[in-house]
């Protein structure tokens, strides 16, 4: 009996993979859906809005967080924003923007950026404000001024923490981009929310592709983090982890 169950499960996943690579007739009939062209197109749309939103969130949250951390002000605000951001339901955010402002690429990008700002803001603040005071003092002692201290000492040392925030933001954004289909933008969410048309195979296919995208993005950002982390920190961390 359980053998039949396993076979059934495997066959749906097999159908899903098939959906990605071969066009097939829609469950509602008379049109062809699926296949690499459609999946690729939707993936591109999905990534486009993800990167736009992530970029916007970075541009807004990173300078503010770093500045607050450098001057060690506004701790309460910076931390609360992070906590508050975690509590906001994504579906509500999309619905809110759709009902109050409007639908479409611009509005969805804005909504997703709002989702990405809290973790980046909080982690930039925490990362920069927790940089070893001795290092900052030494830098000041060497004659560096504000911006130089930030750029050459605080930011590099804060990279692990800041990047952790960026990664969280990226995951939140790429996950919520699937809901953009409700608000005027075609993304991989079309497949997931279109079970009537795409069938179980299409829905699972959409889920697989989104999951792969998210994991790939996370790994890429981890790679970027590794590249940006100063060598000394890497050595120190390796020592601590042993």
């Amino acid at each position: 009996m359980s053998g039949a169950l396993h076979l059934g499960v495997l066959s749906v996943f097999g159908d899903a993979i098939n959906f990605i690579f071969h066009q097939q007739e829609a469950r509602t009939g008379q049109t062809m859906v699926g296949g690499p062209d459609q999946v690729w197109h939707l993936t591109g749309q999905h990534l486009k809005v993800t990167f736009l939103a992530l970029g916007l969130a970075l541009v807004i949250a990173l300078p503010i967080g770093v500045a607050l951390g450098h001057f060690r002000r506004g701790e309460a605000v910076a931390i609360s924003v992070g906590n508050a951001g975690r509590a906001v339901p994504e579906l509500a955010l999309i619905a809110f923007v759709a009902a109050f402002i409007g639908v479409g690429l611009l509005n969805v990008t804005f909504a997703l950026a709002v989702l990405g700002i809290p973790p980046i803001l909080t982690n930039s603040y925490v990362g920069v404000s927790q940089v070893d005071r001795d290092a900052v003092e030494a830098a000041r002692g060497m004659g560096m001024r504000g911006l130089q201290v930030v750029g050459r000492v605080e930011l590099p040392l804060a990279v692990p923490t800041i990047m952790a925030g960026v990664r969280t933001a990226a995951i939140n954004i790429i996950a919520t981009a699937a809901l953009a289909s409700l608000a005027g933008l075609s993304t991989l969410g079309d497949l997931i929310l279109g079970r009537n048309v795409y069938g179980d195979a299409g829905v699972v296919a959409g889920a697989i592709v989104i999951a792969l995208l998210a994991v790939t993005l996370e790994l890429s950002l981890a790679g970027i983090q590794w590249l940006l982390t100063p060598r000394g920190l890497k050595v120190a961390r390796a020592g601590a982890a042993a």
Binding site: A87, P89, A207
Partner: protein, 247 residues
């Protein structure tokens, strides 16, 4: 009309057709109104079942997530080589978007409470596990030495010294996990579970509805967060968690 007469379609006028233009349109019929207080009061009971379902779902999911993460942490406390494996595994599960995860489980558990619980508890694993491990490794060496000096076995050391000292960090992780779970549980409407996402999704153009559903969800998150904070202060008043507890 005699009792035996065959009644065809009822007269049209028996269902009152209301006029809904301009002046006599109620608040909720006007697109521009942000919050209709009277409608909210009259219809608040529509949100109680979704609210309670969501609360139950969150408690179950965080409970299971904590139990599993705790088991992992105890296992990897002595077998430290397990830590990267568990961290990696829970990390991958954390990275998979919940909406996608629901439908990845579609062929296996279908849609419903089972799927929702799996998705939500898996999502909490990474943060809880990481925080338990971090909390345990932040236990001061002096405390461990003192315990050993008193003749404690490894097991006694763990349960009587290390875990209590790690409690602030553990609860910090629980707080983050709980708040996140409350937010994500609204998405479980796509798994056919009637949480606050259901009324939200059902009338996605109605501003008052969005405000109420989102507001209730956020309130739930805040309340549970405060509850956990209070219990941490009660259970471990001697320490504050380090800033290491982050998402």
């Amino acid at each position: 009309m005699t009792a035996g007469a065959v009644q065809l379609a009822p007269l049209l006028g028996q269902v009152t057709i209301h006029s809904r233009t301009g002046a006599n349109a109620p608040c909720q019929a006007q697109e521009s109104k942000v919050f209709c207080f009277q409608w909210a009061v009259d219809n608040f009971d529509r949100y109680t079942t979704p609210f309670l379902n969501q609360l139950l779902l969150v408690l179950i999911a965080v409970g299971i997530g904590f139990a599993v993460a705790f088991a992992f942490a105890i296992l990897s406390h002595r077998q430290r080589w397990l830590i990267p494996t568990f961290t990696g595994a829970t990390g991958v599960l954390y990275t998979i978007p919940s909406l996608a995860f629901i439908f990845l489980l579609l062929p296996i558990t279908g849609l419903g409470w089972e799927t929702a619980i799996i998705v939500l508890s898996v999502y909490t694993l990474q943060i809880i596990y990481r925080n338990i491990v971090a909390g345990l490794s932040n236990v001061p060496v002096e405390s461990q030495d003192a315990g050993r000096g008193m003749g404690m076995t490894d097991r006694q050391l763990l349960w009587r010294v290390e875990l209590p000292l790690a409690l602030p960090e553990i609860i910090a992780g629980l707080r983050i996990a709980t708040v996140s779970t409350v937010a994500i549980s609204t998405l479980m409407v796509f798994a056919n579970v009637n949480t606050l996402g259901q009324p939200l999704y059902q009338q996605i153009d109605f501003k008052t509805n969005i405000v109420i559903a989102a507001g209730l969800s956020i309130l739930m998150a805040i309340a549970l967060d405060l509850l956990l904070l209070v219990s941490q202060r009660l259970l471990a008043p001697w320490r504050r968690p380090s800033m290491g507890a982050r998402a």
